[in-house]
Symmetry: C2
Subunit: 262 residues, 2 copies
Amino acid sequence: MIGIFDSGIGGLTVVKEVLRQLPNYQIVYFGDTARTPYGSKSPETVTKYALQDAQFLIDQGAQIIIVACHTASAVAAEELKKRLAVPIFEVVSPAIRKALAVTTKKRLGIIGTSATIASGIYQRRLKEADRELELITQACPLFVPLVEERWVKKPETKMIARRYLYPLKLKQIDTLVLACTHYPLMREIIQQKIGQRVKLVDPAAEVVQEVGQYLKQHPELEQKLTRGQEHKFYVSDITDKTRQSAKDWLERPVRLEKHLLE
Amino acid sequence: MIGIFDSGIGGLTVVKEVLRQLPNYQIVYFGDTARTPYGSKSPETVTKYALQDAQFLIDQGAQIIIVACHTASAVAAEELKKRLAVPIFEVVSPAIRKALAVTTKKRLGIIGTSATIASGIYQRRLKEADRELELITQACPLFVPLVEERWVKKPETKMIARRYLYPLKLKQIDTLVLACTHYPLMREIIQQKIGQRVKLVDPAAEVVQEVGQYLKQHPELEQKLTRGQEHKFYVSDITDKTRQSAKDWLERPVRLEKHLLE
């Protein structure tokens, strides 16, 4: 089984990509809705939660794990790789590779939660890859609640997007990394405010492509990987809103099961 | 000691009222910043967290407890009263009493988190008190992130406040209950958008007044209550933003100590 976890149900954007790119394998998902969001919390707390999330997926039979949450990818992926026996994929590395591949003017923007941006991981790893890059980062903490409130098409959202993105537009970035699971859900408005010529990098698509390549290179794992369409979706808390958003974002019916960690 | 807990540091608005109205007693505070917010989570999860929060305060020496969090007050107060041996004060009852006392036209508005509004507790209890009341409720899930982002004075916040409050203004309410710890921090903009003639009820002020009256009526408890200015502030997660907001909202320096529950 392919295990995928996130701080909430935003990681269903990664599930959608797995269903599109790797449709044969069985998926087990965990969304930590009882402790969401991770983006405003400290690295120690996020690492602790991420280890519990990943261990739960392994207990359910996950043979590889995708960390859909950018905050957890940014601050906890190394610890997960050290401590767990299954291959761990995180969203930061493939997003970085893609951004480096598509930028032409070497002017990159990165938007994410406060914790992801404060972690400095994108800045550090992009600079390591190419010292000439010009990077502009911006935390956009209101994007997640706006998406969750279903206000994506409202004028307030457009104003807020303009306020967050204006400094990046001024610097004439040519590529923008959407470093949060929720941001692809407001892709249109981001594209509109940053300008049509700026290329958007969606890490969900990239990480799943990376997993596909890894499976090609590791046929022994690929052959063992459970097939099937009986995907399992666990969350640590359920409300009507969670159910509705899960269905909307995955664009198909989904049965959520509650499982409390701790 | 007076114990006060909240899902995060918004409950410091209640601490401020205790310092103002009951300045002699020692305070112990707990903010569950590792699992904040409660407002979007299910009643079962909020009740579980609230019981852990209150028990922690009792373990630290709390002799009475104020539930500063409206969501926890709305969904978990009865359970806390049943299970714990110290007097429990919650913010809903005093807010209701105050609202009933100040309304003249019996047209009341209530704004809060999704969980508080969905709990229906204000609607139910106000109707029990006076069947002729006309109630208009509105969940305002973006207010908390706007306050936490320090965007209170920004035009986007004014637009969002107008969108949320317009239906209440149309119904010509004469009294508005601010049923979330964060809302007093944007009181000015709420007053401006709902209209200057509408009376705002701040439950933080009301619950502390209720505690003061209770202590007058229970001198045996009042005499045992620990005095002192060495207040203790615990949170389950600390970031720079938490520290900064705590200082700003309390309007004095504050030393936060980390304590993880579970």
